[in-house]
């Protein structure tokens, strides 16, 4: 291993933080601050591309590992590594951040410096969540995402921003103390925070069988609130509607994935027995989330709230796929995570562009926008179709795989889940029709400006990514598949049992 391979994860994780620190000493010249943030986030993206390029796809286990003692007592290590599961989530984060900088170019004009500092700190924390293998380090980054996100919502958001920020903070904070308690229990009984060590040695702890359900739930509740799984989802619409565009993009694109990633890595990895026993009610909650989220999305008068509820629905697919315990379901769950990050990120950017011009998200304020803004309408349609799950675009692949997995687990789950695909077509296309087709309903919309250069630069990469992911999913799945296989192999009895039903 050369120097870069050994330290690449440290570099990728902390490059944005270093940028944020430099930014703190920058003079308050907004233009320079924006350019600098963009360069830093592009640099992080460039560095992160090293990961998929040099990733050994046929190797099982963790790669680019770095493991150094940090605190001797308790035994905390600076242990970072990635496998096929976390690889793409890291790249997704670094991919979306430069786009967030671009989309905030004009829309943020007050306290610009603070905004970009928070954005870059948030990026570091998000990457850290996906790369750390030490439970302590993981919790550390997990909590660290909270503050910049809450501040982004609370300082730069819209009318009810304080309410939304505090609600977001309290929901996730209270849920994650349960995870902290579970992590502390694991440490007290194994003497280690190391994920791999705990996974391999937890079976020999005598108190484990009695406590495992509570530990499973401790982790699960923290992740379920983050996902958000029905009925823990109520913070999400508030947070999304009030957040600035870049905040929404990272919130939907990456933050929600922290929850599903956590389930995949920690719930399945550490408590396979409990995951199997609790799978049925979790899958039912996921199905409720899919259908309920879609139905609520359908009746939203507010475009951003509609997209927010569509996230509840789409993330239901991810949870459904994870707890189906099938190769196809898990692959699909991973793929939906990535696809949702790209397409919903794009949708939030597009909604933000409209808000920039008219200062409202109300669908009824628009109508017939296709004639004054043709480029915008075309871009919007493309992203909507990706989100709906049109074949050859990214949404389709993931949902197909998840439904395939759910069908193998229990046919009724597959059938109910499949209705979610129909619902999403309904609410998204209906919204598209109301906003773009027909005659211009409000005269003020006649003079509305089409997409500007930097807006195209922010949205089109999402569209390109959606297309490539839809046409050549194998580029992503080649790395995901072995990692998922390895996760499943740790629970052999489970696969046969669920499939056998």
């Amino acid at each position: 291993m050369n120097f870069l391979d050994r330290n690449i994860l440290t570099l990728v994780t902390f490059a944005p933080l270093a940028g944020a620190l430099l930014l703190a000493f920058f003079p308050r010249r907004d233009r320079d601050i924006r350019i600098f943030s963009f360069v830093v986030s592009l640099l992080a993206f460039g560095l992160s591309l090293h990961l998929p390029v040099h990733f050994h796809r046929n190797l099982v286990g963790f790669q680019f590992e770095i493991d150094k003692p940090w605190v001797s007592s308790p035994n905390i290590h600076y242990h970072m590594a990635i496998d096929g599961i976390s690889l793409w989530l890291v790249v997704l984060t670094t991919f979306l951040t430069p786009l967030c900088v671009l989309i905030s170019w004009k829309s943020v004009h007050d306290r610009v410096k603070e905004f970009f500092i928070l954005l870059l700190i948030l990026e570091t924390a998000l990457i850290g969540v996906f790369t750390s293998l030490d439970l302590f380090l993981f919790y550390f980054f997990w909590e660290a995402t909270l503050i910049p996100m809450a501040l982004l919502i609370g300082v730069f958001g819209h009318e009810r921003k304080v309410y939304a920020a505090v609600k977001f903070f309290m929901y996730t904070m209270i849920a994650s103390v349960f995870m902290l308690a579970a992590i502390l229990w694991l440490y007290a009984h194994t003497g280690s925070f190391d994920f791999v060590y705990i996974r391999d040695h937890i079976g020999s702890v005598s108190a484990f069988p009695a406590a495992s359900l509570w530990l499973f739930l401790g982790f699960f509740i923290a992740f379920a609130v983050k996902v958000p799984l029905f009925p823990f989802h109520t913070w999400l619409p508030d947070a999304h509607v009030e957040a600035p565009t870049a905040g929404s993009v990272l919130l939907a694109g990456v933050l929600l994935k922290m929850g599903t990633y956590g389930m995949l890595r920690f719930n399945l990895g550490l408590f396979p027995e409990q995951s199997r026993q609790n799978a049925s009610w979790i899958m039912i909650l996921a199905l409720i989330g899919i259908i309920y989220g879609a139905l609520v999305a359908m009746v939203q008068p507010n475009m951003k709230k509609l997209i927010a509820y569509s996230s509840v629905s789409h993330l239901g697919f991810v949870v459904l796929g994870i707890f189906s315990f099938t190769q196809s379901g898990l692959n699909g769950a991973m793929f939906v995570m990535l696809a949702h990050g790209i397409s919903t990120g794009g949708l939030f950017m597009l909604a933000g562009i409209l808000h920039e011009r008219r200062h409202t998200y109300e669908i009824s304020a628009f109508g017939g926008l296709a004639s004054p803004m043709p480029v915008y309408a075309a871009s919007y349609l493309f992203i909507v179709l990706a989100s709906v799950g049109l074949p050859l675009l990214n949404g389709f692949v993931g949902e197909f795989l998840v439904l395939n997995g759910a069908f193998q687990a229990r046919p009724i789950y597959g059938i109910l889940g499949a209705t979610g695909v129909i619902w999403s077509a309904c609410y998204l296309l209906w919204m598209f029709q109301r906003v773009f087709y027909g005659k211009v309903t409000h005269p003020v919309n006649n003079g509305i400006a089409d997409m500007l250069g930097f807006e195209k630069a922010a949205v089109w990469p999402c569209a390109v990514a959606a297309l490539v992911m839809g046409v050549a999913p194998i580029l992503w799945l080649a790395a995901i598949d072995p990692a998922v296989q390895a996760t499943l192999n740790s629970l052999p009895q489970m696969v046969s049992k669920v499939v056998g039903q």
Partner: protein
């Protein structure tokens, strides 16, 4: 002849005995110096120059503590013991005093308080607190407790012209003397029960013989006295009123230094004596303090009162580390408690330094709404306060996080699952009211004109020290924790060691 000589040598203090109280001596000298110089210096300049002398005194005391650490052992007929434990608390209380003195320069000038005796009182108070941490003789501990308490009673009333400050001082004095009387009564009963006031001797006597009702009563009375000093529920009622009225830097001082010293005594009493029947008392007091403190803090609009309730809650978290019974759990408990005291001191002194700066003349601006828009008007000050508040919440990267972490993991190792659950739920509730201050600072626009003067160099240094300490404990907690663990080992008497256990098990068949 040689025997008599040896006895003589034991009773006559040796040179090393004086080294073992060197920090106290230096602090007293500087305190007297401040008092003597007070009438001589110009009224206008007195604040600054006397404060600087006080600050130099604390620095000299810190240096002498470092020197003293090289001479561990007993002194003055076994009344004082210098070990890692007492050196740790010496460092802590003297450092707190140094930072508080630094942050007081500006406050005293703004409030137009003639401040000569103020600095002297802080120095004398620290003498008492240092003595409390090194004394192993209950009577000497009582004397230290009184020295420290009397200084803080007066300090609380230093805003002479304000009725609320006098009220605060009087309340603190009346209730405080009541509580110290409890402690003294406990000491007397303990002497009656065991025939000694020396902690080592008491520990041995309790270990060898049966424990009578008298001992339990004595212990309970001592707990009441110390519980008052560290402001744990149900002995916390004085805290909000006293903190609200007392000058802000003094609150920063008395919510950390005397508490740290009282916790040091409590650690000695609980673990070195191995106090019998303490478990449920501590369990209930910890759960009550955490819950009452946090719930009451939720509805406060005065920042000083809010931080007063928060200090009760933090005393509760700290007390969780005391509810250990087995020897190896006690070790982790003691070190967790010591780490917590240090982390709490760093963040709380810092928070009060910011509060006292913002309070302005007459402490007019201490309500939540006065903090509105602070993130915009003075971003650096707001960011500093945010770091302290995040540490009080217990967010990673700050000392407050590791402090809670050590306490709760010690509790879980001792299988105190319910206490841990109460604790973590409380820290989630606690997040809300600290967050409210941050929300007000960053997310609301100021509605009224609140003048914020530029930060003076002294205060700047104080804030820098607190923030560095808070982040240092949050990023590299190793060193401090190792010192705490080492002191925990010196605190637990040898009977706890495996060798001691083996001896007793060996001797039982013989006696039968």
């Amino acid at each position: 002849m040689t025997l008599a000589l040896a006895q003589l040598q034991q009773t006559i203090p040796q040179a090393e005995d004086y080294i073992r109280i060197l920090p106290e001596l230096i602090l007293s000298l500087f305190g007297i110096l401040v008092m003597v110089l007070d009438p001589l210096v110009d009224e206008e300049k007195s604040q600054k120059s006397l404060g600087v002398i006080g600050f130099i005194g604390t620095l000299a005391a810190l240096a002498s503590t470092w020197y003293m650490a090289k001479f561990p052992g007993l002194a003055f007929s076994n009344t004082i013991r210098i070990d890692t434990f007492s050196v740790f608390f010496h460092f802590l209380v003297i450092a707190i005093a140094a930072v508080v003195i630094l942050s007081s320069f500006e406050y005293m000038a703004v409030q137009k308080i003639r401040a000569g005796e103020y600095y002297a009182l802080i120095l004398f108070g620290v003498v008492g607190m240092s003595l409390m941490s090194s004394a192993i003789e209950l009577v000497l501990i009582f004397i230290g407790l009184e020295i420290s308490s009397i200084s803080t009673y007066i300090l609380a009333g230093f805003r002479r012209n304000e009725a609320s400050s006098s009220e605060s001082s009087l309340k603190y004095f009346l209730l405080g003397s009541f509580a110290t009387a409890f402690f003294l009564y406990g000491v007397a009963l303990m002497f009656g029960a065991t025939g000694s006031t020396n902690i080592d001797v008491i520990s041995q006597r309790l270990q060898s013989g049966p424990v009578g009702l008298l001992v339990f009563t004595a212990m309970a009375l001592m707990f009441v006295g110390l519980g008052f000093k560290v402001a744990i529920a149900p002995f916390h009622v004085w805290t909000p009123d006293v903190y609200e009225g007392a000058p802000a830097p003094v609150v920063g001082f008395m919510s950390t230094a005397p508490k740290a010293a009282a916790f040091a005594v409590l650690l000695r009493v609980v673990f070195e004596i191995n106090a019998p029947g303490r478990f449920w008392f501590l369990w209930v007091a910890a759960a009550l303090s955490m819950t009452l403190g946090n719930v009451a803090a939720l509805v406060q609009s005065n920042v000083k009162r809010l931080l007063a309730y928060s200090s009760i809650a933090h005393a509760g978290y700290l007390l969780v580390a005391f509810a250990m019974t087995s020897p190896e759990n006690s070790l982790t408990g003691i070190s967790a408690a010591m780490f917590y005291t240090a982390a709490y001191a760093a963040m709380n002194v810092g928070a009060f330094a910011v509060v006292s700066h913002l309070a302005n003349a007459g402490e007019r601006y201490v309500n939540l709404e006065d903090y509105e828009g602070l993130g915009r008007s003075s971003p650096l000050l707001a960011a500093t306060l945010t770091v302290f508040l995040l540490s009080l919440i217990g967010i990673p990267m700050t000392g407050g996080f590791f402090a809670k972490f050590y306490v709760f993991s010690a509790a879980l190792r001792a299988n105190l699952i319910w206490l841990t659950i109460i604790g973590v739920l409380n820290s989630a509730i606690g997040a809300y009211y600290y967050l409210r201050i941050i929300v007000v600072m960053y997310m609301r626009e100021s509605r009224k004109q609140v003048p914020v003067s530029p930060v003076s160099p002294g205060l700047g240094l104080a804030l820098a020290v607190s923030i560095v300490a808070t982040l240092y404990l949050g990023i590299l907690p190793n060193r401090v924790l190792q010192v705490a663990q080492h002191s925990a080992e010196t605190l637990i008497p040898p009977r706890f060691s495996p060798a001691g256990v083996a001896q007793t098990t060996h001797s039982t068949p013989d006696s039968q």
